[in-house]
Amino acid sequence: MKRKTSFQKNYNIMRLPKNYLIILIFALISGFGLNTVAGELVNPQLGATYVKLTNGTRTFALTLSARIDDKRVNIEDAPLMVYAMNESVKTLLGTLNTNRSGKAVLAVKPEISIPRDKEGYFTFEVEYAGNQTVNKASVSIHIQEASLDISYFEQDTSKNVQVKAFAVNDKGVTSALPGVPVEFYIKRVFCLYRFGGEKTDSTGSVTVQFPKNFHGDTTGKVILVAKILDNELYGTVETVKDYTGLKPLILEPKPKRGLGDTDAPLWMVYTLLVLLSGVWLHVLYVLSLVIRINIVGKKALKQLG
């Protein structure tokens, strides 16, 4: 093995601070770089969707997020303001904060009057004022008010569901909406079951066949849902209606089991009781035998005096 010379030792010792210097320079450079990035305000992405429900309630589903290091980050607890406006008025409909997922939903009741512009459109603006790290942002929605009317009828042997789509102006006058795609659903416990989807005809109506052999609930009822989905001009418009007279669902009686049920099958209870009684009767008999052993011994002792 070669022994290190004193020069080599010195060289190694000298190399250490040199390495540290290089690391320090890199650290400073990257540190400055980070500070520069950290100093810039983040540009958020503000999303808003408009949904009009059957009862006339308008809901705004809002999302606020940002892209940081190629990752989408939800901005929580951010105050968002929703305005309805036209050329002359800007009315605040509500202020709400985003949740942990960066989401917020504002429901505007139908009785609240919303201003329209000259062409009869609604204009909504959602604003985020920003803070020290996130830039301000806003998004506007331009909507023509539309409504859906749902009905069902039977023709020959088939059941049909018809939807009429119409626009409503500020004076309440309706006009048919041709060429608008409408989706048809049946409400299930946790989601919607889609059974059709077509564009409206020139009269603004669309008819689809209700699925055959579809059972209702135990009373023969289902809830029909028709939607204009995320339309550029009308947003999302939804209508629901009960459809009665379907074949009622007959629930199969649940099989009775022991575990988890309130009433155990009787044969199990009886079997258990018979088995246990059998064992305990034998135990009693064996104990009686022990007593007899004792009696026999006592008799023998008496005979012996």
């Binding site: 022991g258 575990l259 209870v269 034998h282 052993i293 026999v296 011994g297 006592k298």
Partner: protein, 444 residues
């Protein structure tokens, strides 16, 4: 020397070996007592602070306590099956080891259920089990079955002891306190070896032997059904009841061999517990190991081949070395193959090797019970989201380990106390057997 004198001489010989104070006995007594005291401290800690001091949380609600419960109920099979079956078959060589087997049964059936009480917490509400017990619940069946099993085991042990109690009562040579002699007199039930008394006792023993076998099977089947009737991966199996029974007899037999080795070694019982006993019981253990291995293979093969996603989650946890793999392979292969090799090959077969095989089997059977309970509970049906790691993954705390050690120490200590008052070798039975042997050889 007449047979009665011979029996008394043998009694003095055996009892004096156990009553003589030794340094090892005293040392072990102190060690086990200290472990039990520490376990008591752990139990008080749990009572005061609540179940949070254990590793059990929202998902893994059964931990080491349940493992111990199943383990102790399992080893109780030593007495029930070995003693019961050998008695019914009138196997003569069983006599010197039968008392150890019966004592294992009674002691383990006393200790096992205590772990359930410890696990339940809130012992102040214990009466609710009896007040609001639901007959349709397998857990209540278990309570009823174990209570019956314990009663029958105690009765079975007592019946087998009557003749020895009579010998102890009549013995003038042994230094027995007045209180002890009073109990021997009462427990002997005036047994004097009269032909009618012999007949009645034999009938009682035969009935109890016949009852205790199905009862033991029932107890462990009910225990298995608590798991089998729950629709969870690793539990919901039709063969769980026979699988549990085989595993229980296997572990019970292994504990019996260990106990035989300990008593033979420390009390110089070579004259009574011979190599023949180890080889015979070892052969039973070999057959049981093969059966247990077959059940294990059958259970996991069907589940793995079925490829149900939820079942596979547990299976892969068991197969994966980064998870429970090492323990699983040790329990599945080590616990089966090592005892089989040590006992199966004649050149390896000896008293010590059979005992080593039994120790490995017992340890592996404990691990196996752990692997039945924990990985399944760590695999809920709904995916785990936003949950702290320790809430979904079980790791036993010092309290649980202390109580486990306390359980094992209590098991050993009970034995140490019992052997001071009860002859570990059934003196009367052995003397009768010798008498019969002498009679036959005289006739021939």
């Amino acid at each position: 020397m007449n047979p009665s004198e011979l029996a008394q001489k043998r009694l003095v010989d055996i009892v004096s070996r156990f009553t003589k104070p030794t340094a090892i006995y005293t040392g072990l007594f102190i060690i086990f007592s200290c472990i039990i005291l520490f376990a008591a401290y752990a139990f008080i800690t749990q009572l005061v602070k609540g179940q949070i001091v254990t590793g059990m949380r929202d998902y893994v609600v059964w931990g080491v306590y349940d493992v111990n419960f199943i383990f102790f109920i399992g080893i109780s099979y030593a007495g029930a099956m070995i003693s019961g079956i050998l008695h019914l078959l009138h196997v003569e060589w069983r006599k010197p080891i039968i008392r150890i087997a019966e004592m294992i049964t009674v002691i383990s059936v006393i200790i096992g259920p205590v772990f359930i009480l410890v696990e339940m917490g809130r012992l102040d509400r214990i009466f609710n089990i009896f007040l609001h017990g639901r007959i349709q619940s397998p857990i209540l069946w278990d309570v009823v079955a174990i209570t019956t099993y314990l009663s029958c085991s105690i009765l079975f042990l007592y019946l087998a002891l009557i003749k020895d109690f009579a010998l102890l009562r009549d013995n003038a040579e042994l230094k027995i306190s007045r209180l002890q002699r009073f109990f021997y007199r009462k427990l002997a039930a005036t047994y004097a070896g009269l032909p009618e008394q012999k007949k009645l006792l034999e009938r009682a023993l035969t009935i109890m032997s016949a009852i205790i076998i199905p009862l033991a099977i029932l107890v462990h089947s009910v225990l298995a059904w608590i798991f089998g009737m729950t629709i969870r991966p690793g539990w919901h199996s039709t063969i769980f009841a026979p699988y549990f029974v085989i595993a229980a007899v296997f572990s019970g037999t292994a504990v019996l061999i260990i106990a035989m080795w300990v008593f033979r070694k420390f009390y110089s019982l070579e004259e009574y517990i011979t190599e023949k006993h180890f080889k015979y019981i070892g052969t039973i253990l070999l057959v049981l190991a093969a059966l247990y291995g077959y059940f294990t293979f059958s259970e996991y093969l069907t589940v793995w081949y079925g490829s149900q996603s939820w079942e596979l989650e547990v299976i892969y946890k068991l197969f994966d070395f980064s998870d429970y793999g090492a323990w699983f392979y040790l329990a599945a292969f080590g616990g089966v193959l090592i005892p089989m090799i040590l006992i199966g090959f004649p050149f390896l077969r000896s008293i010590n090797s059979i005992t080593i095989g039994s120790v490995i089997a017992v340890v592996c059977m404990w691990i196996k019970r752990y692997l039945i309970i924990i990985p399944t509970l760590e695999t809920p049906l709904l995916p785990l989201q936003d949950i702290r790691h320790e809430y979904a993954h079980y790791s036993a705390s010092w309290v649980e380990w202390s109580l486990t050690a306390g359980g094992i120490a209590t098991f050993c200590l009970f034995f140490m106390i019992f052997i001071k008052f009860i002859p570990i070798i059934p003196v009367a039975d052995i003397s009768e057997a010798h008498e019969k042997k002498d009679f036959i050889s005289e006739k021939l």
